[in-house]
C-alpha cells in the first residue's frame, strides 16, 4: 500500500498533481465533500432524515448570522424545520451516492459492451452500435424521466432504497453509451496492437485477452469520462427532481433541496436554495476540474 502510494507519488500523474494548484485544490474540496458526506452522521449537527426530530416551530429560520437566526441552526432551516447545514451534508451524500453509483453502473455496462463490440466486431458490433444510436436519439433527460416513471409503476410502493435504485438505473441508462463508444474505439486500437496478437499467437483465449490485456489499457479514457460524468449525473439527478421524479422528499438530495428552495427565492428565504446550490457547485466544479486535469495528464499528445 505504502509502496503503491509512493509509486503514484513518483509517477508522472503524481508529479503533475503536486505541481497543479488547481488539482490539489479541487482534490481537497472533493475530498472534504466526500468525507463530510460519508461521515454525515458524525459531521452534521442534526439528522435531517429523522422526521421525529424536526420541529415545525423552527421552520424557516435564517442563518445564524442574520437577525432571528440561532446557533442551533448554523445555516438556518427550511420550511419543515430541517437544519440546512445537516440537510446539505446529508443531501451531498445522496447526490454523491447517486452520481457515483450511476457512473459505476453505466461504466460497468458500457465498458463490458464496448469491449464486446470492439473485440467481437461483426454483427455484434453493428448491433451494439446501432443500439447506441437509438439510445442517443433519446435525450438523457427524457429517458430518465420515462424510466423513473416506469420504475415507479413497476415498484409502486417501493421504499426509499428501491426509489434510489430506479433513479440510478434511469440515469445510467443513457450514460453507458458514452463508455461503450469510447471503450469500443480504444479496443479497436488495442486489439490490433502487437501485444494482443502476441497473446493470441500464444493461444490465450479471447475472453482472457479482453480482460487481462485490453481492459487495463482502456481504463484511462474511462477514468476521465467517469470523473466528468459523476458531475453530470449529479446535475441530472437535480434536474429530474425539478421535474418531479427525483428522490423521495423526506430524504432530499442536493438537487431536491435546490428545487424546493427555488420556491422560496421570491420570499427572501435565499438560504434554503443558496447553500445547497453552493455545495452542488462546489462538488461538481471540483470533480470536473479533477476530470479536466486528469484528461490533460493522461493525454500523451498534450504532454
Amino acid at each position: 500500500m505504502k509502496q503503491l502510494l509512493f509509486r503514484w507519488f513518483d509517477s508522472d500523474v503524481g508529479y503533475s498533481f503536486r505541481h497543479s494548484p488547481v488539482a490539489i485544490g479541487s482534490a481537497f474540496v472533493a475530498f472534504v465533500c466526500v468525507f463530510c458526506a460519508a461521515f454525515a452522521g458524525w459531521v452534521s449537527p442534526h439528522n435531517p432524515f429523522d422526521l421525529g426530530s424536526l420541529e415545525l416551530s423552527d421552520a424557516r429560520l435564517p442563518p445564524s448570522w442574520s437577525a432571528g437566526g440561532t446557533f442551533k441552526y448554523l445555516l438556518g432551516t427550511d420550511d419543515q424545520g430541517r437544519d440546512i447545514l445537516s440537510a446539505v451534508i446529508y443531501g451531498a451524500r445522496i447526490s454523491i451516492v447517486v452520481g457515483a453509483a450511476s457512473v459505476v453502473l453505466s461504466a460497468l455496462v458500457g465498458v463490458a459492451l464496448g469491449l464486446l463490440a470492439g473485440f467481437k466486431g461483426g454483427w455484434v458490433d453493428s448491433f451494439l452500435m446501432r443500439l447506441c444510436d437509438v439510445m442517443l436519439s433519446f435525450p438523457p433527460i427524457l429517458v430518465a424521466l420515462l424510466m423513473a416513471g416506469v420504475g415507479r409503476a413497476l415498484f409502486p410502493n417501493a421504499d426509499t432504497t428501491v426509489a434510489f435504485g430506479v433513479l440510478i438505473l434511469s440515469i445510467s441508462l443513457t450514460k453507458w453509451v458514452d463508455y461503450a463508444r469510447t471503450v469500443r474505439g480504444s479496443t479497436l486500437v488495442e486489439r490490433n496492437k502487437e501485444y494482443v496478437q502476441a497473446a493470441r499467437v500464444t493461444g490465450v483465449s479471447p475472453l482472457r485477452i479482453m480482460r487481462r490485456h485490453v481492459l487495463p489499457n482502456v481504463t484511462g479514457p474511462v477514468m476521465v469520462l467517469a470523473t466528468i460524468q459523476v458531475a453530470t449525473a449529479i446535475i441530472t439527478e437535480a434536474t429530474l427532481s425539478f421535474l418531479g421524479v427525483g428522490v423521495p422528499p423526506t430524504s432530499p438530495s442536493l438537487g431536491t433541496l435546490i428545487r424546493v428552495g427555488n420556491d422560496y427565492l421570491f420570499s427572501g428565504e435565499y438560504w434554503i436554495t443558496v447553500f445547497p446550490g453552493l455545495m452542488l457547485v462546489l462538488i461538481v466544479l471540483s470533480v470536473n476540474l479533477l476530470g479536466d486535469w486528469l484528461r490533460d495528464v493522461l493525454n500523451p499528445r498534450l504532454q
Binding site: 496492437k193 502487437e194 501485444y195 496478437q197 502476441a198 497473446a199 493470441r200 499467437v201 500464444t202 493461444g203 490465450v204 490485456h213 487495463p216 489499457n217
Partner: protein, 341 residues
C-alpha cells in the same frame, strides 16, 4: 516422419507452405454494391505462395510495403485462416490442428516476434508477467518461484538481467524491448519462429545486437526462422534462402548466395539496385521508376510489368508461374524465354 537419429541430416522440411492464399473482403457495404452495381471487392493479400523451410534454417521474405509479407507471417502462426492452400508443420496440417484440442500443443512450437518493440509489449504488465504469460497459459509452470526462476533464465538467455523482470516495458530501450519479445517467444521452447521485421524499428547499433542474439539462439537451439524484412542487407546477413514477394506472390525464391550474386528477376534486380551503396560513394544510380500498384486492382498479366523495363505483350497479358530455373525459382517470362539473364 521417419525417425532420424542425431547426426543425420534431415531433409524433410519442418515448414511447408503449399499454395497459401489469403483474400480479404474489402467490399463496400451490401447496399452500395446493389445500388452502384459494384462487384464484391476482394483483396488478394497473398495469392498462392509456396515454400519450404528446413529445420534449423532461415527463409527470408523481402518486398515492398503491402506486398503481403506480414500476411504470410500471420498465416503461419495461425492468426489468419488461409483462403486456399495449407501449411504443413512437421508433417501435420497446422490449421486443421489449430482448431482441435491439440492446437495449443502446436502453438507452443510456433512463435512470433513483432516489428514494433513499443507496441508488442503490454505497457501495464511487468516483464515477468509478459514473459511468464506463455508459460502459465500453457500450464508449463504454475508455481510462482519456479516461474520466476524460469523467466530469469529466459531473460539471461537474451542478454538481459534476471532482476529486470520486475520492471515495466517503458523502462527499457528499444533493443532491450525487442529482447524481451524474443524471450517471450522463446518461453515455450518453440522450434519455429516467425519474425516480422524484428529490427526495422531499431537503430543500426541496436539492430546488430538483436540480429546477433537471434543468430546465436538459432545456433544453440536449432531454431527455424521465417524472417521478414525489407532491408536486403539484413536479409543477406541472416538468411539461408530468400523469397522476393511482389503484390502477394513470390517472384523469386533462391538460395541467398545465388540471389545476391546473380539476381534474375527484374524486380529483384531493382530492389538490389535501389540500395545505396556505402563504400563507392558518389556513384549516381538510375532509380527505378514508378510505385507499387494498388493491390485492389493489380495489373493484368505479370503484376510487375508497368515498372519493368523488359516487359512485352506477353507480360501484359499472361501471368508468369513460379518455375524452377537452374535451382532458382522464378516467375518471369523474360527469364523463362531467355530474354533476360
Amino acid at each position: 516422419m521417419a525417425a532420424c537419429g542425431g547426426g543425420c541430416v534431415n531433409h524433410t522440411p519442418l515448414v511447408q507452405a503449399n499454395d497459401l492464399a489469403k483474400t480479404f473482403d474489402v467490399s463496400p457495404p451490401w447496399l452500395n454494391r446493389v445500388l452502384e452495381r459494384k462487384p464484391r471487392q476482394l483483396l488478394r493479400a497473398v495469392d498462392g505462395v509456396s515454400f519450404q523451410i528446413e529445420k534449423g534454417k532461415t527463409l527470408a521474405l523481402v518486398g515492398e510495403s503491402g506486398c503481403g509479407k506480414s500476411t504470410v507471417a500471420r498465416l503461419l502462426v495461425g492468426l489468419y485462416e488461409p483462403t486456399r492452400g495449407n501449411l504443413v508443420f512437421d508433417g501435420q496440417d497446422a490449421h486443421a490442428v489449430f482448431k482441435t484440442a491439440g492446437g495449443n500443443a502446436l502453438r507452443k512450437r510456433i512463435q512470433m516476434i513483432f516489428q514494433d518493440p513499443y507496441a508488442s509489449l503490454n505497457p501495464r504488465w511487468t516483464v515477468e508477467a509478459i514473459v511468464g504469460e506463455p508459460l502459465t497459459e500453457h500450464g508449463l509452470i504454475v508455481e510462482a518461484t519456479a516461474l520466476k526462476q524460469r523467466v530469469g533464465e529466459l531473460l539471461e538467455s537474451v542478454g538481459l538481467r534476471a532482476q529486470d523482470m520486475a520492471k515495466y516495458p517503458h523502462q527499457f530501450s528499444g533493443g532491450q524491448r525487442q529482447r524481451i519479445s524474443i524471450a517471450r517467444a522463446l518461453a515455450t521452447e518453440p522450434e519455429f519462429l516467425v519474425c516480422d521485421e524484428p529490427t526495422s524499428a531499431l537503430d543500426v547499433s541496436v539492430q546488430a545486437q538483436v540480429l546477433n542474439i537471434m543468430k546465436e539462439l538459432q545456433r544453440k537451439r536449432g531454431l527455424t526462422y521465417l524472417f521478414i524484412s525489407h532491408n536486403l542487407a539484413v536479409v543477406r546477413h541472416v538468411s539461408d534462402q530468400v523469397g522476393v514477394m511482389y503484390l502477394g506472390r513470390l517472384v523469386e525464391l533462391a538460395d541467398k548466395h545465388t540471389l545476391f550474386a546473380a539476381p534474375r528477376h527484374p524486380y529483384t534486380r531493382m530492389l538490389l539496385d535501389a540500395i545505396p551503396k556505402m563504400h563507392d560513394t558518389g556513384r549516381a544510380r538510375t532509380p527505378v521508376q514508378g510505385e507499387v500498384p494498388n493491390p485492389l486492382d493489380p495489373p493484368a498479366g505479370c503484376a510487375f510489368h508497368p515498372r519493368c523495363p523488359h516487359a512485352n505483350d506477353r507480360c501484359r497479358a499472361e501471368r508468369p508461374a513460379l518455375l524452377d530455373v537452374v535451382g532458382v525459382k522464378i516467375a518471369c517470362h523474360a527469364v523463362e524465354e531467355g530474354r533476360l539473364r
